[in-house]
Amino acid sequence: MTTLSFIASLLLFLVIGYLLSIVFLPQPKSGASAFAFRLSAGAGLGIGVTSCIAFICLLAGLTRYLPAIDVAVCLVLGLICLALSRRGLAGKPPSLSQTRPFSGLLVVLAALFSIELIATILSFAVAFLKEPHGRWDAWLIWNMHARFLFRSGEAWRSVFAGGMEWSHWDYPLLLPLSAVRSWTYMGGESNTVPAVFAFLFTFLIIALLLFSLSLLRSRTHGLLATMILMGTPFFVSLGVSQFADIPFAFFVLATLIMLFFQGRSPENRTGSLILAGTAAGLCAWTKNEGLLFVLIAAVSVAGAAAVDGGGRQFVRRTGGFLAGALPVLLIVLYFKTRISPANDLVAGFSLAAASIKMLDPARYIEIAKAFFFTGISFTQGLIDVRVGMHFNPGAVNILLLAGYLLLAGVKTDPRDRICLFQTGAVLLLMLAGYFSVYVLTPLDLTYHLFTSLNRLFLQMWPSVIFVVFMIAGAPGEESAPGDGRDALPPLKPKAAKGKNKASLPEESSGRPLRDIPDREWTMSHEVRERNEYNKNPVRRHARLQREGDHSDDHREGAPA
């Protein structure tokens, strides 16, 4: 019975998340990748949203009705989906890469990927058996908070004023409340529940990376990127540790992916942006550094909209992003102002001490050194405090990404240019933000760096891999960077407009190809050849004749 209840709790957040993705995301395209993408993005968002619902129920004293409330939310979302589908909600689909048939290379790659995936799942399982309660922060913070909230019943608020600062009661409640929610369904505690959430978030990140890149670039991009992520020992180790850094990494990645979907779906921009805002808001509901992320992401969206589209787009896009983030941010705000104690970094902050630290060059040098060493080494695992900061690059690290980029080359899709700047800026500003926090920290600097920096880097790691693979080419697609086949002109031109003018085919986005100055950069070898062919008026005419189009017979150079 408890297992069935647990499964019901999982299914409900999955359905809620999936329906949210249907409501807000324009139909990417039909097919397994699109369905799997919705499912992986929706599952994570569903966990976050149901955690927010659980918090509201906790505040209202309605925890016992939680399953009924979840079902009601499901029904409402289902009705919205139904109504929108009747009105034709889809609008124009985003312009995505075309699915190519499986080539030999892709089959080999998929087979190797499957082996790595199975090995990763086995590694996760063994690590779970070794430490079923997770590691240090799991039982010192996250699972302990879940136990307090579940076991305290109506008196749950008192624990926040309990003076247990060492357990960081100011930390947001997404992860603890997800466990509490499932325990409420089950009617009792189980140590397996937090471990299941750890498993889900770890493999949802893998799925999200795989399917988003498959849709936005190509399957090869998706497979190679996820192989790098699975080859990161610290990713698996932190996932099984049941820390909140992996859920946080999921929401950061989801935010950035939604920004790319917004860039690719000009007809339905606010839908993806609303989901991006929700994911960013859920970052703030997962960890305190999420507040910095929301701020940076919002500024980046606003900045990109102002540069790209002017005042109207600025209002529309920023409004869309904030509309998604605001409901979650209101919950975070309420929690921070009414329930949680002060954060240790904020409580220990003083202007006098901060100004001294800001003027101390030794701190900057120490932090820069730690950033450099950790940047090279963080993929390998926890820092051994007995050894200190040292080089420990391992097989998979940031240099592998750089090496791959060097070999595969930079081949971006022009449609992603704004998003690449936007997401690159978000990641760099996050690093700059973390650097500033370390400069001003009231904690012992070495202690603070040793105990947190590698986790902060790992939070960004899936997103960094994603952005790099949005930039890089891939084997087997050397001449089709960005898999821009969806933007290929058809062989047969459309009807001519006006005298001496053959119409240019338009992309599915409705944007004329001639407006994309470096379009050729994104074309396959085959298309380049075809275009060269078309430039030759004699050959072109002959071809049009074959295809039965005589619209530009009168062009100069056309044979009589």
Partner: protein, 151 residues
């Protein structure tokens, strides 16, 4: 010529990723399989939980209880901050983890005090100084004390 090199460069990039990630993934799996063979029947947290759980029938479900260990209370966090010994904090946190929502205070100044002496007994005179009288010894370094009201 350029296209030729570009093609093989990209393939080399893919091969590099496959080789290094394969090595990393299988290396991690091998490491975990080796660990699996030597895994104890129970992990340390579960063992600690079972040990501490024995206290539950003697304690209230909520409220507060004191805590003492091998070292003075104010040194538990100091040792962790200086990376000298994280065990004391881990034992304290796991005691709290097990007994939640009862709050375990890192102080001997409570009517009931848990003694967790996995790493040896406290300094001589520490218990007397704090007026702690043994209520029950559960073995394995776990003792429940009551505070002498006169102290």
């Amino acid at each position: 010529m350029g296209a030729f090199f570009s093609k093989y460069r990209a393939r080399a990039g893919g091969l590099l990723v496959i080789c290094l990630t394969g090595y990393a993934v299988l290396g991690l799996l091998w490491q975990n399989i080796r660990i699996y063979g030597g895994l104890p029947e129970k992990d340390p947290v579960t063992i600690h939980e079972e040990r501490i759980r024995q206290l539950k029938p003697l304690l209230r479900a909520s409220g507060e209880v004191g805590y003492v260990t091998t070292v003075e209370n104010d040194r538990i966090f100091g040792f962790e901050k200086s990376f000298t010994n994280v065990e004391y904090l881990a034992q304290y946190a796991l005691t709290q983890y097990t007994l939640a929502p009862l709050i375990v205070r890192n102080s001997p100044q409570f009517p009931l005090v848990i003694g967790n002496f996995l790493d040896g007994p406290p300094a001589p005179g520490f218990l007397e100084k704090n007026g702690l009288i043994e209520l029950r010894d559960f073995g394995d370094g776990l003792i429940l004390y009551r505070k002498d009201r006169k102290r």
